[in-house]
Amino acid sequence: MSDLQNGESPLVQIDFNQFEKVKGIKLTELKFQGHLNLRGRLNDKAFCKAISDAIGVELTSLKANTFILSEDFKVYWLGPDEWLIVTPPDQQLELKNTLQQALQGIFSSVTDVSSGQTIISISGFNARSLIEKGCTIDLHPRQFKKGDCAQTHLSKATVLLSVVKSSEAFEIIIRRSFADYLGLWLLDSSSEFV
């Protein structure tokens, strides 16, 4: 168990208080979540069963570009043989061990990337307009609904964008080294809503 007190989030340099003057946008960081990258083959029944047993998610029924909430875990589709599991803070190592145990002898890979990325939550009536300033994906609720996710770029940073509530609440998973850039970009881009 690590000591979060001494940890530092990738967005430590961003002053989130500055977002308080922005109308229609609530921006927070979901710090120190556990992030596990999972690789495996869907046509490998043993793999799918091991995952289903461990976290209760049937990967075969998780559609491309969607995510699912299972107990405390969020599982995102990243590719036909790649998923991201987000856990509450400090549960990733335990889950990683559980998965690795379950996947013994099965072609797979479970990698802790918790320190490599963080989550920014953006909600409010201007949330969509803010993201649209740097995102080529159609975010209209008819197209991008609750439970959808997409790997794309926001301005010039690669992100995993997901819809928590259609058109109103989004989450952005951003790599650590790009987080500061994205934080500054969000701050700059939201200036028109102040």
Binding site: G116, Q117, T136, S177, D180, L184
Partner: protein
């Protein structure tokens, strides 16, 4: 000063007078005016001098097509060149001045060009100034002063420019009757609609029309419709927005002006927004532009487009003349005449080239005393800065020659209409090939290539009733294509039916002079292209319309073919004795109207957000310690840490000495890190790297070279075997992303049978390299659970332990030749780890060092940096590193190493260079020659790739790629410098320090 404001209402707000300055004089207009309408209200017709002949010019049109009233807006940082006065909304305090006038508008020194215009035919600038070539620079200076449009701002643009991506089902461009109707139809079907129009108000021609819709003035229908559209949730209305580019895959770029209409002090936020729209379907309802008629002196102030005259009267309540003559070849000018009469202005005569152009309007006009002179043309006008009369002649039967005597009619305004050209610019940009319509005498949009359709005047439909029905049809059809069902409740508004007589094309008005002789008959006023220029071009052999365009400058500038194109092409066709379809039209390209560079560049130009800056977990610490940073790819890496009073060299020398003598620490987090997992990982590495991997022990590290398939060095790094089937690869900082993509490519496309998964962990791990004889003491003080004994934890091995209770991986690897450990922890704890190491190292005076010292230390050992000592044309053999290339297994790039070119004699090889005078430091990139006194060009035998002063050695060292270098040890070569000095250096081994490698094995 004369006031031309009419009693009628117009769409101006008389309760809001606005003061403005034009060419230094103060005037007043009203809210709702454009700069052009306000100037005309103040009886200012003369607004510019033309660019080539410096002829006086007045306002011709009322919109984007305006060729003459091009003004410089505001001053200093906020100045805007080339604004069309017809499109500039008036605001309090606006300042504008004419372009192309020196020393002033009323007396223009360069108008002397006008007297010699016979001597300045088309192509004049090409012909005169192209020879002799060496004088071009000074010619250019003169031409720039004498011609060209506005002045570019010299100060940085203080404005902010927003950018937004948008998606919709139906994008409708143009909010005239067709566009509004299309939006209404698609909107009612619940489609996501965007309706854009370049004007501040929606309505297009309806804003100045006399027609009624559903028994109400057209303006009322416009406001009702806009209100209804505004209430629809999925309809987005964008006024003041120019769709200026129609690109592939229905990608349309739109420039929205957010603050240009506001007084300088009231502008807040972004000035403009660039909309990048992907539309499933597009409706082009961009309207039509009226064509001028081409007769002698048709560019004089007081000659205007008929539709513009009507617009100024009806929309802006401005009488642009008191005694008016109309010259037309179609019915639309009769409506202007009606409007003028209603406004109480005097229409003296209508000159029509057609025979007995009878219509209900003609009859009515006659009854009101307007003389309709048929089968006649205006051959010339009198007056220079403002016309005072027109000269009229009759046409011979057949219509291509004039006859009889000249009739002079006094007037102060000539309203002309040469017919209408649909605005097919966007349709043409979308890829559709425009087609000529003889009946309508205009180009029509071609068969759509993309998901678009035209409606209304832009589709060649010039009457209101059909505009509305075409609009509705287009809206329905576009939304249907997106999967929506037609809303049956929608009804077409009721309008009066008007019967139009056919236009009689009149491309070049006949006169008593031979074609091309006599006073200039202008085709393109902005570019001073006259009919004679086009005929000359044809005579000189320019037959392609694209060539004529470039030779004459027809359609250049802000015009982009709006005013002169069709007349010009028709005149060219006549000269070549072709028809217009054979001649064709030039290709319209973006942008339809000028767009600011700021809008295209967007909000992050030049600022810290222009390119992502990647930062490590310890970035804040480095910054606080005063590090200077270096860009490595997108990363910011500490370059060196200067102390007070230290130069860069001082700092680097100190850092290098401290590291070799005690201990240094460098942030190595930026190196690419990839987890390779699966039973075929070893086999995969064998194919990827030049050396063998399967026999590497667990927790051992090995250095590897990756080649391109062409055999050239692509990347290098240390890879560690973590488990039986799991490896941890390091790439170079810059190579991380491309190498990861490269590896995925081989796995996915060529070797799908290999059971290997890759996961990037570059960002997850923070890495501190602790380097120097005291590094073991420092690292062992911080890391728990690891036996740091030299034998227990040997060089090129890896251990897991804890740092501050956090999982850590320590790799005993070295890029300096010193005893060194790389400490990795999850990056959230990177700063904490770094600070712990600094604290533990305090007693050894641990010294943080940057990339510069890292480069010096590795160069002392002769370690290459891929991308610095290699350039994509260097093999491992060239680097003298055959030892890392397996002779027994295949790997990517292997076959290429045996290609003829890779095994030939005389390839450039990596060697060391020692300057004969040890204090001389060679410049990196310096060219190497054998004999500096050889005759020029001196054969070059290589170049310096890395060069530093080494404080540890006390002299400079360099690495270089030299032809056959490995067999030239001890030879002296020369490096000539730019200042003429020549430095002599001796070729040596590239290992300068601790050649036996003892220091890293302690």
């Amino acid at each position: 000063m004369k006031n031309n404001r009419l009693q009628g209402e117009g769409r101006i707000n008389r309760n809001r007078p606005l003061n403005f300055i034009f060419n230094g004089k103060s005037y007043q207009g009203f809210e709702g005016d454009t700069l052009a309408s306000a100037l005309l209200a103040n009886d200012v017709h003369l607004v510019a001098r033309s660019w080539k002949y410096h002829r006086p010019r007045g306002i011709l049109g009322s919109g984007a097509e305006e060729p003459n009233a091009i003004v410089q807006l505001e001053k200093g940082r906020l100045t805007v060149p080339n604004a069309r006065a017809t499109q500039v909304e008036l605001y309090e305090g606006l300042q504008a001045s004419s372009v192309n006038c020196w020393p002033g508008l009323e007396f223009d020194f360069l108008s002397i060009n006008s007297l010699f215009s016979r001597l300045m035919p088309s192509g004049f600038y090409y012909k005169t100034f192209m020879w002799p070539k060496k004088l071009w620079m000074s010619y250019e200076h003169v031409i720039r002063k004498a011609s060209g449009l506005g002045v570019s701002p010299e100060l940085p643009d203080p404005d902010r420019y927003e950018k937004t991506y948008a998606h919709c089902d139906v994008l409708i461009i143009g909010a005239g009757p067709a566009g509004l109707m299309a939006a209404l139809a698609a909107g009612k079907m619940s489609a996501r609609v965007m309706l854009v129009d370049e004007q501040s108000e929606f309505g297009g021609s309806m804003l100045h029309s006399n027609e009624t819709i559903n028994g109400q003035p057209a303006q009322d229908w416009v406001s009702d419709t806009c209100e209804e559209l505004a209430s629809m949730q999925e309809v987005k209305l964008l006024p003041r927005s120019s769709a200026f580019g129609y690109h592939d895959y229905n990608f349309v770029t739109i420039n929205e002006r957010l603050t240009d209409h506001l007084p300088t002090g009231q502008k807040t936020g972004g000035r403009e927004r660039l909309w990048k729209v992907r539309a499933k379907q597009v409706v082009l309802a961009t309207g039509a532009l009226e064509r001028p008629l081409v007769f002698a002196n048709n560019d004089r102030p007081g000659v205007m487009l008929s539709s513009a005259v009507m617009q100024y009267v009806n929309r802006y309540a401005v009488a642009v003349g008191q005694e008016i003559v109309i010259f037309t070849n179609n019915d639309s000018a009769y409506e202007t005449a009606m409007t003028l009469l209603e406004a109480g202005l005097k229409v003296i005569a209508i000159i029509d080239n057609r025979i007995n152009p009878g219509s209900s309007m003609a009859d009515q006009l006659r009854s009101e005393g307007v003389k309709i002179i048929d089968q006649s043309v205006v051959v010339d006008v009198k007056g220079s800065k403002r016309i005072n009369a027109v000269q009229v002649m009759s046409l011979q039967p057949g219509g291509d020659k004039v006859t009889g005597s000249v009739q002079t009619i006094a007037c102060d305004l000539l309203a002309m209409s040469g017919g209408w050209s649909p605005v097919i610019h966007l349709s043409s940009q979308s890829g559709a090939k425009a087609c000529w319509d003889d009946e309508k005498a205009c180009f029509l949009p071609g068969v759509p290539i993309q998901h678009e359709r035209s409606a209304g005047a832009s589709n060649g439909c010039f009457d209101l009733k059909n505009c509305l029905s075409e609009g509705m049809l287009a809206g329905n059809e576009a939304a249907q294509q997106c999967g929506f069902e037609v809303d049956a409740s929608i009804q077409l508004p009721v309008v009066n039916e008007v019967i139009f007589n056919r236009i009689k094309p009149l491309w070049l008005v006949p006169s008593m002079f031979k074609a091309g002789r006599g006073p200039k008959q202008f085709v393109d006023m902005q570019n001073d292209v006259a009919a004679s220029d086009i005929m000359l071009a044809a005579r000189e052999g320019y037959h392609s319309v694209e060539h004529v365009k470039r030779y004459t400058a027809l359609g250049f500038g802000t015009d982009q073919g709006k005013i002169g194109n069709i007349n010009g092409m028709a005149i060219l066709a006549q000269s070549l004795q072709q028809n217009i379809s054979e001649t064709g039209t030039t290709t319209f390209r973006p942008n339809y109207t000028p767009v600011t560079i700021g809008s295209i560049a967007g909000m992050n130009l030049g600022g810290e957000l222009f390119e992502p800056v990647r930062k490590t977990a310890m970035h804040g610490w480095h910054k606080q310690e005063g590090a200077e940073f270096e860009n490595v790819g997108q990363w910011k890496r500490p370059w060196y840490y200067p102390r007070a009073g230290e130069s860069m060299l001082d700092a680097v020398n100190r850092e290098c000495l401290a590291t070799r003598n005690s201990v240094g620490i460098i942030d190595a987090s930026t190196l690419g890190k990839i987890i390779i997992e699966g039973k075929d990982s070893g086999e995969f590495l064998n194919r990827l790297y030049t050396n063998a991997w399967k026999k590497l022990d667990i927790n051992k590290a090995r250095y590897g070279f990756m080649l391109g398939e062409d055999g050239m060095v692509m990347d290098d790094g240390v890879t560690i075997r973590l488990e039986e089937n799991k490896y941890f690869m390091h790439t170079t900082t810059g190579g991380a992303a491309p190498v990861f993509s490269w590896m995925e490519r081989w796995l996915q496309t060529e070797w799908p049978e290999l059971e290997v998964f890759l996961t990037s962990v570059t960002d997850h791990w923070a890495t501190a390299a602790v380097v120097g004889p005291n590094s073991r003491k420092v690292v062992s003080a911080v890391c728990e659970g690891i036996d740091f004994d030299a034998q227990a934890f040997p060089f090129m091995s890896s251990r897991e332990g804890l740092v501050n209770g956090i999982e850590a991986r320590i790799n005993r690897i070295s890029f300096s030749g010193e005893l060194a450990y790389e400490v990795n922890v999850p990056a959230n704890y990177g700063l904490q780890m770094w600070e712990s190491l600094m604290a533990a190292g305090e007693q050894y005076d641990i010294t943080p060092y940057g990339t510069e010292s890292m480069h010096v230390l590795r160069a002392e050992k002769g370690y290459v940096i891929v991308g610095q000592d290699t350039d994509g044309s260097v093999t491992p053999v060239d680097l003298g590193m055959d030892w890392v290339v397996s002779k027994v297994k295949d790997f990517i790039g292997r076959r290429s190493l045996y290609r003829e070119d890779c095994v030939r004699e005389g390839r450039k090889q990596l060697v060391g260079l020692l300057t004969l005078n040890g204090s001389d430091v060679l410049p990196e990139g310096g060219q190497i020659v054998e004999d500096p006194n050889a005759s020029i060009p001196i054969p070059m035998i290589g170049h310096v790739t890395s060069s530093y002063y080494s404080a540890n050695l006390g002299y400079s060292i360099a690495m270089a790629l030299v032809k056959g270098g490995l067999s030239r040890m001890g030879e002296t070569v020369h490096i000539p410098l730019a200042d003429g000095k020549v430095i002599a250096a001796k070729i040596s081994s590239s290992i300068f320090y601790d050649a036996d490698g003892e220091k890293q094995n302690v």
